[in-house]
């Protein structure tokens, strides 16, 4: 039987395969592995030096898109132009900060013939760092206590309640573990300038870091759940190596989340398992993680399943995956020509 997905044209963001990588390249790798090399991949980039732009064996063509702060009209205009050139079948956004806009224009994209598989704005809001504690209390999840910080002075109350160490987190990205008030103030200013307020001060939970990659079907279930234990963590707290693990408690947790939210699309749960075995939800990211290729390697190709679901095909939930699949990330100096950089910088296309 012919592979009906082999000639699709799929647009993907998150080509920033750097030391704090976006998920785009892992998503593309998963899709190519499932659907074959004829799949046409259109990269959507924000900056001219996102490595994926220059990985021409994985990304057929890249177009620069406007930053989320430029609003939905600018994004829709740009995607309309790209669609005219490429006839896109599906778009997979991979950044938290761009999701609001993509969700908003999803109906127009649908009319244009571009499929998506995204959560609603309400679902996006449930798991927002600002609302996570409240969400946890309502649905009986363990979530560390937090304080919303609108000014540096608000740190006083947070440190009185939680002591040090303390997690200071940006609204969208970045988290710092701080041990002194000076460090906390510095982190607050850095995060508020980058991501705006509130900055979140979160109680520090000691334990084992586990991440879960999952794909919600939008009807209260998960099509796939794969758990990973971090084995090597960078200074920014990102997994540089990890191994798939299988524990029913982790699968149940993701299933409870899907049931509570009817989540639609990929998501990642960041979990801390403390010495009593309690699973604390530190964050829920509303898109696939950068390590999502490990789901394909372990037997549950989540990006490929998302594509099928976005195209309204029936996808049976995966039932099993291989524990003990290891990933070790590496860096690699890819060589390109200055003319490629020039083309991308000047014309916004390569």
């Amino acid at each position: 039987m012919a592979n009906k997905y082999a000639n699709l044209c799929i647009a993907v963001t998150g080509l920033n395969a750097n030391d704090n990588p976006g998920p785009g390249m892992a998503v593309i790798r998963s899709l190519k592995e499932s659907f074959g090399e004829d799949l046409r991949i259109i990269g959507l980039s924000y900056e001219s030096l996102e490595p994926g732009i220059y990985l021409r064996n994985l990304v057929n063509k890249t177009y620069q898109v406007p930053y989320p702060t430029e609003g939905t009209a600018a994004l829709l205009d740009r995607l309309t132009y790209i669609h005219q050139q490429e006839n896109i079948d599906l778009v997979i956004p991979n950044f938290d900060s761009e999701l609001f806009n993509f969700i908003k224009i999803a109906p127009q994209l649908q009319q244009m013939g571009i499929a998506t598989f995204l959560p609603s704005h309400q679902q996006l809001s449930f798991r927002d760092k600002v609302h996570l504690k409240e969400f946890g209390e309502k649905n009986n999840f363990h979530v560390p206590a937090d304080h919303k910080l609108f000014q540096a002075e608000d740190l006083r109350k947070a440190t009185d309640d939680f002591n040090f160490p303390l997690m200071v987190k940006g609204k969208f990205y970045d988290a710092h573990i701080v041990y002194t008030m000076d460090q906390a103030i510095k982190a607050f200013h850095q995060l508020s300038v980058t991501w705006g307020v509130p900055v979140i001060a979160q109680q520090y939970i000691k334990g084992t870091e586990i991440n879960i990659a999952a794909l919600g079907d939008g009807k209260g279930g998960n099509a796939s759940v794969v758990a990973m234990r971090k084995l090597y963590i960078t200074e920014k707290g990102k997994a540089w190596a990890g191994v798939t693990i299988k524990d029913d408690k982790l699968i149940d947790l993701a299933n409870q989340f899907a049931a509570a939210t009817n989540w639609k699309g990929g998501y990642e749960m960041e979990i801390m398992s403390n010495d009593k075995g309690h699973l604390y939800i530190l964050e829920i990211n509303p898109r696939f993680p950068a390590w999502v290729y490990l789901t394909a390697a372990a037997g549950q190709n989540q990006p490929a399943a998302l594509v099928k679901m976005a195209l309204d095909d029936e996808v049976e939930p995966f039932e099993d995956y291989q524990a003990g699949k290891l990933f070790v990330r590496y860096s690699w100096d890819h060589i390109a020509d200055i003319t490629d950089f020039q083309q991308m910088s000047v014309f916004g296309e390569l």
Partner: protein, 82 residues
């Protein structure tokens, strides 16, 4: 005391707990003991095999066995009894 059924062990002493991601490196004696425990042999049978094969007194073996159990428990490799 039983080793958790899902624990993966290799002949060279590598132990992987697929529920937690913990891994350990054991020596050849640890590998042999784990293999024997996973095969369903009782404590008594395993101890008898050691006594038959090695030059060790029963008292010393019992003390070492207790120590081995503590290590397995701390590593979360034993089935909870009850």
């Amino acid at each position: 005391m039983k080793i958790k059924s899902n624990i993966a062990t290799s002949e060279n002493g590598f132990i992987f707990n697929p529920a937690t991601g913990d891994s350990f490196s054991g020596n050849t004696m640890a590998a042999a003991l784990l293999l024997a425990m996973k095969s369903g042999k009782t404590e008594r049978e395993i101890k008898q095999e050691i006594l038959d094969r090695y030059d060790v007194k029963a008292d010393q073996l019992n003390r070492d066995w207790e120590d081995w159990m503590i290590q397995l428990k701390e590593a979360n490799l034993l089935e909870l009894e009850g």
